[in-house]
Subunit: 319 residues, 2 copies
DNA sequence: TGATGTATGTCAAGCGGTTGACATATTTTG
DNA sequence: CAAAATATGTCAACCGCTTGACATACATCA
């Protein structure tokens, strides 16, 4: 591999000059630039990012820590992050903490040792906060500390919209299934709306294990057995909603005729289900874009900020 | 941030010694090791991976280039790769070429400039082959050149199994929907099996655009309109199968009573559909593990190798 | 004319590790 | 007891790029 020295030699200048033309700083004559460029071309020179990073004490790597890579929500997050990152010349280093606080801590150390430009945290453990000082970090759909900027969607509003929608579709007996990932705000929005309308409702919480395996079948079956009158289900994620639909099918309940189902997230899965799932759309693209901006403009960002982006209903065929 | 010098100073030894204890090479007395470890502890020292990489001319980064981050198949691939990589102390750099040969080439250059330990290629453009020389590269479910080792699943066998299964379930009019991603071998396996059994069948190919948007609705609708006698569909990916099921629902066809549907990949989506999808299971974990081994043991690997891993049927409720 | 500013480059010290070559004990061995 | 083996460390040159400090050489200005 050709190095900057080879280029300098070939172009008849010093490495400083070569570096200058690469980074376009200082005064350079067109002639010099030309010479250097030709030498680079001739040698098929590609500057080492590693050396550059060492000299600059910073890389163009962006770390993302997610609690799972199997949940479609995080897949879409990674997709969006990668898109925006690559536009800015940043590269995504993907870390799967697997809902394990220790793994998360290890990943944070690793990212620091790799001098990443910033970290986007989608995990929940608060105990890593102190190791995050002096490092551009933003949490996505999470809020772990007032000193770490957070980007979230309007979860409470999402819960409200979901409840209102089910009610407007004529449901009388609502239930919300709250999976591990989602925030308490969704529950609150749902609960408050139901209370305001004094409609019959309840909320069931999935266990961590169920979340981990993304398998809520037992929970849902129990639910329908215990409360056969249910005619509207708000699932706190599309994955849960998918399983609600499955189980309705199995139990001979028609969706949406007998039971209406609404999800949350609006991941691709939602449109692939039969019937296609009505759901609360999370602005994943915008969330991710904002998160990356926060990292990139770290100096200007208000460290205590909480950015909340609006959600909206996407009605399909399940309600 | 403390550096190796600070540690050396504090421990009363030279940087060489510190480096030695970090890398556990040469003779070290327990006493020295202890001193050094204490100094590290006291300074909360974390060696810079960047500096280390520069000195060793290699990083512990592993590049993955996929054609899409929205397709669930690649999500599962990334999940599996991350798992195996992290076990070996490797980090995943995720690149989304978006089925764009130029982007792919740019990513390859970027990965080279970042001195990655290796690249796992899930994309198809063959024109990048020459820029891949002298670099540990393996293609996953792809084969772009005899000189680049490939890890694939037994696609032809998958096609056979799918066809045989549909036939064994009593289907008389088969169709295969071939999406952009999948290999020609699947078609061959399917076709040959049908021919051997002299059963009525045909194959339709999706356009690149449809693949890109993961939206095959038009294609499938046309298919059912043109050939109403279809009673068995083999979709070359679970995503396509999901849409087949949707459209059957909409057209009032029952799955599996009227039409049996089988997919390929066995991504998580398959078990979430209603009815749950029968599909050909790809051993993603094994494929990825093997791909990473190929990179890690590059010196020992046969560059011309093609590793083909077996697939098997997972029968659920759609057939 | 001398000060000032602009244009074009060079020097060399980092950045934070790694490592081959050496030096100096301390043991072991024949 | 001298040679060989083992143990414990140090020196300093690299890895490839960045950058502040410093030359020069002209033009321009007052």
């Amino acid at each position: 591999m050709a190095t900057i020295k080879d280029v300098a030699l070939k172009a008849g200048v010093t490495v400083t000059t070569v570096s200058r033309v690469m980074n376009n700083r200082g005064y350079l004559s067109e002639k010099t630039k030309e010479k250097v460029h030709q030498a680079m071309e001739a040698l098929d020179y590609h500057p080492s990012e590693v050396a550059r990073s060492l000299a600059q004490k910073q890389t163009t790597l962006l770390g993302v820590i997610v609690p799972s890579l199997l949940h479609p929500y995080y897949n879409e997050v990674i997709n969006a992050l990668e898109n925006h990152a690559s536009l800015l010349g940043l590269k995504l280093l993907v870390c799967n903490a697997q809902r394990n606080a220790q793994k998360e801590a290890e990943y944070i150390d690793m990212l620091k040792a790799n001098k990443v430009a910033g970290i986007i945290l989608c995990t929940q453990s608060r105990n890593s906060v102190r190791s995050l000082i002096n490092l551009p970090v933003v949490t996505l759909e999470r809020s772990i500390s007032p000193s770490v900027p957070a980007v979230l969607c309007d979860n409470e509003m999402g819960g409200r919209i979901a409840a209102e929608h089910l009610l407007s579709r004529g449901c009388k007996n609502l239930v919300m299934i709250q999976g591990g990932r989602s925030s308490e705000e969704r529950v609150q929005g749902f609960t408050r709306t139901c209370e305001e309308d004094s409609v019959s409702f309840h909320v069931v919480h999935a266990s961590k294990r169920q979340f981990h395996q993304l398998d809520y079948a037992d929970l849902i079956n129990t639910l329908f057995t215990d409360s056969p009158a249910i005619d509207g289900v708000f699932a706190s994620s599309d994955v849960i909603a998918a399983q609600v639909i499955q189980i309705c099918h199995k139990r001979g309940l028609c969706v949406p005729e007998d039971v209406k189902v609404i999800g949350f997230d609006d991941v691709d899965l939602a449109r692939l289900l039969s019937p296609a799932l009505s759901t609360i759309h999370q602005p994943i693209e915008e969330l991710c874009a904002h998160a990356i901006q926060t990292i990139v403009r770290w100096e200007d960002t208000e460290k205590q900020s909480r950015t909340i982006l609006p959600v909206h209903l996407v009605q399909r065929s399940s309600t």
